[in-house]
């Protein structure tokens, strides 16, 4: 009896890889399916993301003809970013669009910042991705909050003020009620991005 047990234990059928033959086979099969999905839909997803960025450019930099936008890869201290140099229909420069990302209140916030030709003033701001609190922090994507950034100077920090004060001329942004951290995060992300990349926009 004990001999039978010991031979039973050594049977090749008990090897865990053999036991899992179905799972290994399925994993291979599913991987193949997912590769096909990625090959077919991956380019469409990439294109969607590009479209999402490009559709915002005329809002960020006025008078821009999207057909004349040039993508420029900037490099500094081992970091890389793709900036968009904007031109109007007559190929006159109209400004820059710079992607900006950073930590918000809940999750990473992705922004696009519009700048004038000399990168000295902000011409617009849009929120591409955010997962801030619905009804409070996610109001950062509303125009009433975003339009405060238009006209702020790019060479100095933008600050957040509470209450009814605050004007773009003084580089002040009025915080959203109940979402001070989300408001501060957006300003910090803009400030940090401009500090890093403003000088490179030529």
């Amino acid at each position: 009896m004990s001999e039978e047990n010991s031979t039973r234990k050594k049977s090749w059928k008990d090897n865990y890889l053999v036991q899992a033959w179905l799972i290994l086979l399925m994993a291979a099969l599913y991987s193949a399916v997912l590769i096909l999905v990625q090959l077919n839909w991956g380019p469409i997803i990439k294109e969607n993301q590009r479209q999402a960025t490009y559709s915002q450019i005329p809002i960020l930099v006025p008078n821009t003809d999207v057909a004349n936008v040039v993508e420029k890869t900037l490099e500094k201290d081992g970091k890389k970013v793709v900036a968009y140099q904007c031109f109007d229909a007559q190929k006159n420069p109209t400004g820059w669009v710079l992607p900006a990302s950073g930590q918000g209140f809940a999750d990473v916030v992705d922004l696009l910042v519009g700048l004038d030709t000399s990168a000295s003033k902000l011409t617009g701001l849009v929120v591409i991705n955010q997962k801030e609190t619905p009804g409070l922090g996610n109001l950062i994507k509303e125009e009433s909050f975003r339009k405060q950034f238009i006209g702020t100077a790019a060479d100095q920090d933008i600050t957040v003020v509470k209450g009814r004060d605050g004007s773009p001329e003084k580089n002040e942004i009025r915080a959203l009620t109940g979402a001070t951290i989300s408001s501060q995060s957006v300003c910090d992300i803009v400030n940090n991005t401009l500090k890093t990349w403003r000088e490179e926009l030529k």
């Binding site: 179905l22 799972i23 399925m26 994993a27 839909w41 469409i44 997803i45 609190t133």
Partner: protein, 204 residues
């Protein structure tokens, strides 16, 4: 296999008697999170139904060769694959909806409705009842999500499917309804209502 419910029974049970939201109280995470508007609820339910039916088909076909002690692994692998396909589909063809639903589409992988249907039905029954079960539970989930989403979107935003129903002239939107507390309040009230109907029926 004679003691197992037929395909038609499986289909019907998923919609009312074993409704995933109100009877089994499964999949509460997406139920509370994506019911801020009706379109989101419908997309979520459609994606879940797709995964439910596909996972049920695969598990039902393989049920005789799946080793019992490795079955959860097979279920998870199958579910994860179909969820990835659903996620890619939304990203490619419905990018706005994909952005709205955010992480809740990938999170279908851990939705216990699907794994419980693989365990309860698909690993024991043949293809036709398993497919019927998938569609039944999916429709039940759709019913559960939409009932909550209709209340929340109407009271919270004054709209239905994005169309204005309650004009801003005489309606003040209750912001709390689109916040998490609104989800709990609505779910609690609706569940009490459906339980009350159920108990009334039993009395008769």
């Amino acid at each position: 296999m004679n003691d197992q419910p037929t395909a038609l029974e499986r289909f019907w049970r998923g919609i009312i008697p074993e409704n995933p939201t109100y009877r089994q109280v499964l999949g509460m995470c997406p139920t509370l999170a994506v019911t801020t508007n009706v379109q989101g609820a419908i997309t979520m339910a459609a994606a879940t139904t797709f995964v439910l039916v596909c996972a049920n088909i695969m598990v039902s076909l393989l049920r005789k060769i799946i080793k019992p002690h490795l079955r959860i692994l097979v279920f998870t692998l199958t579910i994860a694959t179909f969820v990835t396909i659903a996620d890619y589909f939304l990203q490619a063809f419905m990018p706005e909806m994909s952005a709205q639903l955010g992480p809740y589409i990938p999170l279908i992988i851990v939705n216990c409705i699907i794994i419980s249907r693989c365990e309860v039905c698909a690993s024991k029954q043949s293809l036709v009842p398993a497919i019927a079960d998938g569609f039944g539970q999916g429709l039940g989930f759709l019913l559960g999500l939409c009932s909550i989403a209709v209340v929340r979107e109407l009271l919270g935003s004054g709209t239905l499917m994005g169309y204005t129903v309650l004009s801003e002239n005489f309606w003040v939107n209750c912001g709390i309804m689109i916040l998490p507390p609104g989800a709990f309040l609505t779910l609690g009230c609706l569940m009490a209502f459906f339980n009350w109907i159920g108990s009334k029926k039993q009395e008769n």
